[in-house]
């Protein structure tokens, strides 16, 4: 985990990784602010701290690949092409949102044109769905890969194990990204499981697993690139355990008083975006002006999205029964 320094990706990729992380954080912060101002609808989730995982893994996929992100993976939805407009509109329950007001916050934000499978609360249903997508690629002889995200909490569920086992025995082209953010809601790892690394769960199914620093975007990206390449080449599934920390509460209402302040402080110093900015500045891939430009671009994009969403129509109540069935 970060012992051997990785070769840096090309500068363009570095900028991409950085830019998407900043957009993710900006959007995330803005959504939190909206809710705090009472302008939200229902509850919502922050993925603060998860940017390097969502972006680093998401950007490892090709256009024809498919991904099943979850509630902390705002960055992944973005890199796959969901616009901030559609995302904010979704959170506000508007007709212009990804689910047109049908599903809440980041739930159900799927779009098959963009290779995104929408998730359900019942965790981690997305994982078995991604395995099935991967099996369909093998069946059809398509060189495509499916990526699933799962949390530490999810890694104890039966479905996690069933899905991983199925992927292994079918040698499905699956990349599983485990976001170990130390907590499932208020429950720390020590009360969830008696192991140190979730990567150990790979051995139960014959799935190779690596552990990466989930706050180091290049490390995540590099591991994801390898796993994707391996899966695409017929090498079967890989698990990547990303160690990170959920920097806010479980959801908007949760103050997370149960998290020790030192733990948060420890991870705050390892903020994925701050670290990467410093690194890029040091490497000369970006300068202060470049940083400001990206900040500004992201802020503008997010502002426009909020404006778009808030001025979007509510769904027509008369449409409520529409769309339950495919025609």
């Amino acid at each position: 985990m970060g012992d051997i320094p990785l070769p840096a990706p090309p500068p363009e990729t570095q900028l991409d990784l950085y830019r998407w992380m900043v957009l993710t954080r900006t959007l995330d912060d803005r959504i939190m602010a909206l809710w705090k101002q009472g302008r939200g609808v229902g509850g919502t989730f922050s993925g603060k701290g998860h940017e390097a995982i969502a972006v680093g893994a998401g950007l490892a996929l090709g256009a024809d690949d498919v991904v099943a992100p979850m509630h902390r993976d705002l960055g992944c939805y973005l890199v796959r092409g969901l616009t901030p407009e559609r995302i904010v509109a979704n959170q506000l329950g508007r007709i212009t949102g990804v689910t047109a007001g049908r599903d809440a916050n980041l739930h159900g934000m799927g779009d098959l044109e963009l290779g995104i499978i929408g998730f359900v609360s019942h965790l981690p249903q997305s994982m078995s769905t991604a395995v099935g997508a991967a099996m369909s690629f093998t069946y059809r002889g398509e060189p495509r890969v499916a990526m699933a995200f799962a949390g530490d909490g999810s890694s104890s569920t039966g479905l996690f194990h069933e899905a991983l086992n199925l992927a292994a025995v079918q040698r499905a082209p699956l990349v599983l990204v485990v976001e170990n953010n130390q907590y499932a809601y208020s429950t720390p790892l020590s009360q969830q499981m008696a192991i140190d690394d979730i990567a150990d769960r790979g051995a139960a199914h014959g799935v190779p697993a690596t552990i990466v620093d989930g706050n180091n975007v290049e490390e995540v990206h590099s591991a994801a690139l390898s796993a994707v390449a391996k899966a695409r080449a017929g090498g079967g599934p890989t698990m990547i355990e990303c160690k990170t920390m959920r920097m806010l509460g479980h959801a908007i209402h949760d103050g997370a008083e149960y998290v020790p302040a030192e733990l948060l402080e420890h991870w705050r110093r390892r903020d994925p975006i701050d670290r990467y900015r410093k690194r890029l500045l040091k490497r000369g891939v970006i300068d202060d002006e470049g940083v400001s430009t990206i900040d500004k671009e992201c802020a503008d994009a997010v502002e426009a999205a909020v404006e778009f969403a808030e001025s979007s129509e509510w769904p027509d109540p008369a449409s409520v029964e529409r769309g339950v069935y495919a025609p």
Partner: protein
């Protein structure tokens, strides 16, 4: 009274377009669809290899279609139904066998939470079929005799069908496979090899959502589905001697329900008996009875009566199971009471 009641071992392939068993019609439908459409794949426990499924519906399929199209699954219903959803999202048309309908609960989340809600939430179709061998009456005990259809009828986003004849077994399975929505297809185990009937050759489809008048009649209407259709017809034949002319409506599809056909018959007869083998309490029959009692209120000459299983787990021992389960005798008695009302 052994497993041979299911005819575990008997062959399922028969010459097409002839009289054949209920189970052979299921096999035929599936085989024909797989020949027609390379997107149709089969998965489930023990469906592959030389074995071909607990009931042999897919016997010979692995030979014909290959192991990648007829996939043995680990005993993990939640995962493999979820995987079927993933395949369906990618454009395949998976047909999943749950070994017994009783085990469908193990994949409940994958069905009712994900597959069923998917199109409403983000507009992506899930064209799979789950084949679920259901029903009892053959001493299989509480976990190999269940009729869990009510749970799925109550779930928005699913379709639910229950064929009662070989022809419908074929026609509804083909329609279910071609349907772009998740369809739960309940098979009646007690009919598997005990029931034979004419089955149209080739591309025979039965529209999902349309009931079938199994027997015309003017005095009392029996509304039912699955194996109970045959008990009802038997009862109706008995009742000829009593001078009672009984109509039997075979619903075939429980979701969507053919409310028009149900109400038409209710109005025509004014006396309706609703029957299913599933336990009566809060079963599908309650919906049908409530519907009729509401919409045909002033056309009824007698209360809508229901017969169903008792509110107990399906008991194993033959005398207990017989007491649990509706049959032609109880149906005839109830129809007589309605006719006299």
């Amino acid at each position: 009274m052994t497993g041979a009641n299911f005819g575990f071992a008997a062959p399922t392939a028969e010459a097409a377009g002839t009289e054949m068993t209920y189970i052979a019609a299921i096999s035929e439908a599936l085989r024909e669809e797989m020949r027609r459409d390379g997107d149709v794949v089969v998965l489930g426990e023990d469906v592959g290899g030389s074995f071909g499924g607990a009931f042999k519906v897919t016997q010979g399929f692995a030979d014909e279609f290959g192991d990648r199209r007829v996939m043995n699954m680990p005993m993990t219903e939640n995962a493999f139904i979820g995987a079927a959803t993933g395949m369906a999202l990618m454009g395949l048309r998976p047909v999943v066998e749950v070994q017994f309908a009783d085990f469908i609960t193990t994949g409940f989340d994958a069905i009712v939470q994900f597959a069923a809600t998917n199109h409403y939430r983000w507009g992506a179709a899930v064209p799979w079929v789950i084949r679920a061998p259901a029903d009892g009456g053959i001493s299989s005990g509480p976990f190999h005799s269940q009729n869990p259809e009510a749970w799925f009828v109550h779930t928005p986003g699913l379709k639910v069908v229950v064929p009662a004849t070989p022809a419908d077994a074929k026609g509804l399975l083909i329609s279910a496979i071609r349907d772009d929505n998740p369809v739960v297809y309940f098979e009646s185990k007690p009919l598997y090899r005990s029931l034979r009937g004419e089955v149209p050759e080739g591309d025979h489809t039965v529209p999902i959502g349309r009931a079938r008048l199994a027997r015309a009649g003017t005095d009392v209407a029996v509304v039912t589905y699955g194996a109970m259709v045959h008990q009802a017809v038997t009862a109706a034949q008995t009742l000829e001697a009593d001078g009672i002319d009984v109509a039997v409506l075979d619903l075939r599809s429980l979701k969507p329900l053919d409310t028009e056909a149900v109400l038409e018959l209710a109005v025509a007869t004014g006396r309706v008996l609703v029957i299913h083998a599933a336990n009566r309490l809060a079963g599908v029959g309650a919906e049908i009875a409530a519907l009729i009692a509401d919409e045909a209120f002033d056309r009824l000459d007698a209360p809508v009566r229901r017969i169903g299983g008792l509110d107990v787990p399906v008991p194993f021992s033959p005398p207990l199971e017989a007491a649990y389960r509706p049959d032609a005798t109880r149906i005839a008695d109830e129809v007589r009471a309605l006719a006299r009302w």
